[in-house]
Symmetry: C2
Subunit: 390 residues, 2 copies
């Protein structure tokens, strides 16, 4: 029993943390509850229920499957579902009518053939990467509705009636979900993408800011939190998140600072350059624990240029991140880049002069590599800055 | 019209390529068509249709949404759907019964409250990363079924009947989907994961194999295909694919060489080390275009150790990849690792002796960094090898 209690306590802590990390999660849960409760009112109000009957459940079903965390995702699923249902219902009705012309015996065979061909073809279309990214759900619903409508063993007029009810209940469900999603504390995928890209750049800056003092053992305080040296690791695997957020953001209407036809793919470019820089930083982080004795063979003159380089790069990156967040032009990022390039040059020449006087090259290779990677980070930073000009 | 024609031709080419790249896609599409056609037979056979009525469409619906590319994904979705439907139907029936006790007026209020609370709570649970990875679909279906059953405005016995029909049609649909998925050319997520991890290691080997000759301009043939130098890039972003394949593989029953309780997480470990190595290679690839004049300042003695190091690492990596594929123990990988470490030592000492005689250190920094990164690749390779021993 003590073990169970501790598990319950742990679960409670996890739940609390999940809510605290992103309070929008709690709001989202309440929104879903609200939307479903609203739609289920259909069952209670007799006149509405009489109109739709059992079909009213399609409205509930639509809310449950369409309601996503962000507005873009909800809109994407909603539009996919609505459009696919409409098209498939029309096509299904046509197929049903065509098959019924061929008499009692031919009908099931013909219908079976239609269903088989359409299901197989559309399933294959789902493999196209572009279709998968934006219309996967629509294609699924298309198969579904086509089968339901064309196969149902009713007469033509009944099928038409059924198709009509299905489309209209889905519209009602979809609109309810969208309304609740957009009106009450909307979560915009575009905002999330925006912040993700800005934060990722800041994470690189955080690493570089900590790298210098950590490498040269300037801050001897072992107690300090070193999580800033790990932050960049999430950047390494951010590609898929960025891509799906971009796909969601494309569905979203203009909002806040994001006007119509906002160039979302620009974020993908900046994101990819940021990841590029993170790969270099990952290589760099391997040299954090270089023995101080090795450092001292060259380091007297290296420390200052290294620290300068880092601090200028950090300033440039932080300015970029801030510029993204506030949607302003980074005014002084270029001058920081120039300064960091000068620091890189200084670093190289101090390597050249600080060495060669009898020092064993073999021993200082790690230091040289570290310096060389730092210089590369500068050129990565420059590329990120340049991507803003276009 | 000419423009449309060329678009059609292009689309045709793309379709053909999609099918040729992985013929299992075509088979999968046909399988989906078959499964749906099989299930839709319910509508044609009068006795079956009489038993289930409109509920028969749940069977079609289940096949469409449950049938996934791999057996693991299909099983996972099927089990999620089946279990969630069963549990939610039971709970929904209880809620419905409880609410109906409170009289005509209290019933809708109480039901609305139940639906709201359950939907909000379960939606929040979907945010737990572990639940999201394996039970996301089940939680969705749980909300759905609970709402449908508890809210439906029928009397108790009718609700029971409805719940029974829903559960049984879903079982039929799920079994049909699973049967077709497993019996006809099954696609195992476990196999895919297995091959992915092995191929990723091989891609690293391909890069290293090409790196030496390319760096030292040994093969002057500009015509040759250099795609092997790009192959490693897909490894950088393989994390999410590996994780989802692992989740699918866990649902799969023992098959082929994969026995019960196969340690799938081992692949995640190896995959993560492979990615680690790929990050180093990404940094290394930045030095591919180093000016030959710079190389010649040191290279006379560097070339051979570099080529040795690469070729031994390549042998080790290829052996590992082959060992994964054939599920054997890599017999000579260790000796190749030892040899590559010797080569790394030789490389370092040639750097030391080949330099320092008046050469400008500044100029050869790129060469030193390249060598240093190569040495790191060796230690990454060693880690991958070690991960096999446990």
């Amino acid at each position: 029993p003590g073990k169970i209690m501790s598990k319950v306590v742990e679960l409670g802590k996890k739940t609390k943390k999940l809510g605290e990390d992103d309070p929008r999660r709690i709001i989202h849960s309440l929104k879903v509850g609200l939307a479903i409760t609203l739609v289920s009112l259909f069952y209670y109000f007799e006149p509405l229920y009489d109109g739709f009957g059992v079909s009213a459940m399609w409205a509930v079903l639509t809310v449950v499957v369409v309601f996503e965390f962000s507005v873009g995702a909800t809109l994407g699923r909603g539009l996919n579902r609505g459009l696919a249902t409409f098209l498939a219902a029309a096509l299904g009705f046509g197929a049903h009518h065509l098959a019924s012309l061929s008499g009692k015996k031919g009908e099931p065979i013909l219908l079976g053939l239609f269903v088989f061909l359409l299901a197989a073809a559309v399933t294959f279309v789902r493999f196209f990467p572009r279709m998968k990214a934006r219309y996967d759900y629509g294609l699924l619903v298309f198969i579904l509705t086509f089968c339901l409508i064309s196969v149902s063993g009713y007469r033509d007029d009944q099928v038409l009636h059924m198709a009509h009810k299905r489309v209209s209940t889905i519209l009602i469900g979809g609109f309810t979900a969208l309304l609740v999603c957009i009106v009450i504390y909307p979560v915009w995928a575009g905002d999330d993408l925006h912040n993700l890209v800005a934060n990722n750049i800041e994470k690189l800056a955080d690493f570089l800011e900590g790298f210098g003092p950590e490498y040269f053992r300037i801050s001897e305080d072992a107690e300090t939190d070193k999580s800033f040296l790990e932050g960049y690791k999430t950047v390494l695997n951010s590609k898929q998140t960025e891509e799906s957020l971009t796909n969601f953001a494309r569905w979203e209407p203009p909002h806040g600072q994001f006007r119509f036809r906002y160039p979302w793919e620009q974020y993908l470019k900046t994101g990819s350059l940021t990841r590029h820089c993170a790969y270099r930083i990952e290589a760099l982080s391997g040299y954090l624990n270089t023995d101080t004795r090795i450092q001292q063979r060259v380091c007297g003159k290296l420390e200052q240029p290294c620290l300068n380089l880092c601090s200028e790069s950090v300033k440039a990156l932080k300015e970029l991140s801030f510029a993204i967040k506030t949607m302003t032009t980074p005014s002084s990022a270029n001058s920081h880049i120039t300064k960091s390039k000068i620091a890189a040059k200084n670093l190289k020449s101090s390597l050249n002069t600080g060495l060669c006087k009898g020092t064993d090259l073999l021993e200082v290779i790690p230091v040289i590599t570290m310096a060389s990677l730092l210089v590369e980070v500068v050129s990565c930073t420059e590329k990120i800055t340049e991507s803003f000009k276009n």
